[in-house]
Amino acid sequence: MFNRDRWQEIFQTIGKNKLRTFLSGFTVALGIFIFVILFGFGNGLKNTFQEFFLDDATNTLFVYPGRTSKPYKGYKADRRIEFKNDDLADIKAEFDFYLEDITPRISRSANVKYKNESNNYSTRAVAPAHQAIEKTILMKGRYINQNDIQTQAKVAVIGRLVALDLFKNEDPIGKYLAFDSSVFKVVGVFQDEGGDNEERGIYIPYTTRQAIEKSNDKVDQIIVTFRPELGHLGALAFERELRLFLKAKKSIDPTDQNGVFIRNVADDLKRNQQFSNVLQLIVTFVGLGTLIAGIIGISNIMVFVVKERTKELGVRKALGASPRSIIAMILQESVFITLISGYMGMLAGVILLQNIGTTLEDYFIKNPYIDVSTAIFSTFILVAFGTIAGYIPAKRAARIKPIIALRDD
C-alpha cells in the first residue's frame, strides 16, 4: 500500500489518463454533492417547518369560548359563552398548583396613524404574561407591565415592521400613535420569530382595551401556561380539569363539546413532531436514493475503465505482472480517485449549503445544513461501494489470459 513505486505508477496513470480520471472522479463528486445538497435542503425544510409551528412556548393552553350545543340547567342550547376578568382570577385561584402564568387576549384590527402615515394592524390586548407565551423579543423599550394594567395606561408595544412602516428612521419610543379614537404612547418595539405577520402587531394592556370598549370586562380568549415539569400527562390532566371547571362555572353540559375549546400546544407539538419525522424520513429516503444512484454510476464507470484497460493489463501480465498486482493497482487507483473527488464533492456541497443560509427562505428552505458525521459517513459509503464495484471487474481482468487480452481486433 505504501510502496512508493506503485504510487508513482498510479500517479502516472492518473495524470496520463485525464478524461478517464475526470469521469470517474466527477461521478463520485457529483453523487456526493447532490446527496449533501438534497440532505441539506431537507434539513432546511425542517428548519422552516419548526419555525412555523414551534415559535410559541410549548407549555401553553389556549382557551376559547364557544356556543353551547346542548340545553343545560334551564339554559337553551346555542347560548354564547363569554369569558370575563373574574374567570382569570378564578382560574388563577383554582389551579395554583398547575399554573405558571395566565393572560387574556383580546384581538382587534385597527387603523393606526402616526403623523401622515397610517396603516391597518392587528392589536392584541394582553397582560404582561403574554410576552413569555408568545416568545416576544423586545428590541427596544419595555413590554406591558402590571402598572399599565392597573392604570389602564394608553401605552403600546409595536412590532418591528410597524415601527418600520410608520416611523421610518425615527425612534418610535415615546412617540404617540392614534387608533380607536385614542392616543397611545409607544413604550417598546418587539420582534418575533413567528415571522412577518407577528411583527405587524401591536400590544396594549387588556384593561385599556376594555375601557375603550365601554368599560366592559370581557375577554376574547384566555391563555395559560403550566409548569413544564408537569410533562405531557400532567398537561392532559390540567386540560381536563380546566375544562370541567369552566363548564361548571359557565353552566355548560359536561358532555357538550362546543361550550369551551381548549387547544393544547403540547398536543400540537407532538403532531408537528410526527410530521417533522415524516419529513426526516422523506429526506433520508431521497438521500439514500441519491447515494444508490451514485454507486451505480461509479460501478458503471469502473466497469468501463477496466474494460478500456484490458489490453494494457494483458501487456502488463505478459511482462510479468501477477494478478494480485493488477487488482491492487486498479483498486488503489480507484480508491485514491474516489476519496479525493468524494471529499471535494462533499466540501463543495457543504460550502454551497452554508452560503445558501436564508436566501431560499421563500421556497421554505432555511439554513440548510448537513451534520459532518452524515456527510463523512456517506462519502465513505460511496468510496467503499466504488471500491467493491471496481474490485469485481478488476478481478475478472486479472484472470483473463494475456493472449485473449492481447488478441488483435
Partner: protein, 233 residues
Amino acid sequence: MISIKNLHKSYQMGSSSLHVLKGIDFEVEEGELVAIMGSSGSGKSTLLNILGMLDTADEGDYILDGVEIKDLDETKAAKYRNKFLGFVFQSFNLINYKNAAENVSLPLYYQGVSRKERQQVALEYLDRVGLKEWATHLPSELSGGQKQRVAIARAMASQPKVLLADEPTGALDTKTSYEVMDLIQQINDEGNTILVVTHEPDIAQMCKRIVMLKDGVIVEDKKVKQVKAAAHV
C-alpha cells in the same frame, strides 16, 4: 534450453472441438534463432503462446531452462514469464500513455528493480536499439519500426532466457522489416535464444533454423544458411 514432448492442444468451439496441436516434439538449444513457419491455422501462434506461458497445453511436457513448466496458476506463470521470457508482438503492444523509456523499464518494475536502476537499464537498452534520443517520446510519436524496436528493447531489458517474437514484422514494410530483423540477428549474435513466428519466407531465411508446421504437426525442421538482414538494408 527448450524441450517439448508430445504437446497437444484443442480449442472448444461450441459443441465441436478443434485439435490445433497434434503432438509436437521440439528442442531448441541455447543461442539458436528459430523461425516457426506455417500458414494461418497451422498452430504456430498457439505453439508460441504455450511456449510463452500465455496459454496452457492440454497434454505434453514442457521444460524451459531445466525447469518443468506445469500446473501453472496465473501468479506462477507471471513470475516465470518475467524471469524467463521476453515478448515481441505483431502490434507492438506498447502502453500508449508511457514514453519509450517507461515502456522499456516496465518488466523491471515487476522484477522489483529500483527506479533509478530501471531508468538506467532502460536507457541502455534503448541505446542498443538506436533510440536513446527517443527515450521521452510517446509511442504515438514513433514510427512502426521504432515502436517495434522499443518493444524489442522492452523484451530484452529483463534479460530473458528466450525471446519470443510473434510476427514481429507483420505490421511493417519490407525495409523496416529488414531493419528489425537486423536487430534480432544482432541480439542473437550476442548469444540469446530467439523464436520467431512468421509466414514470410524471406524473414524465415534470416533465421538459422526453420520449423514448418502444418495442421498441428511439424512437417519439416531444417537448418538453413542465414541471410544477413544488414545486407538488404
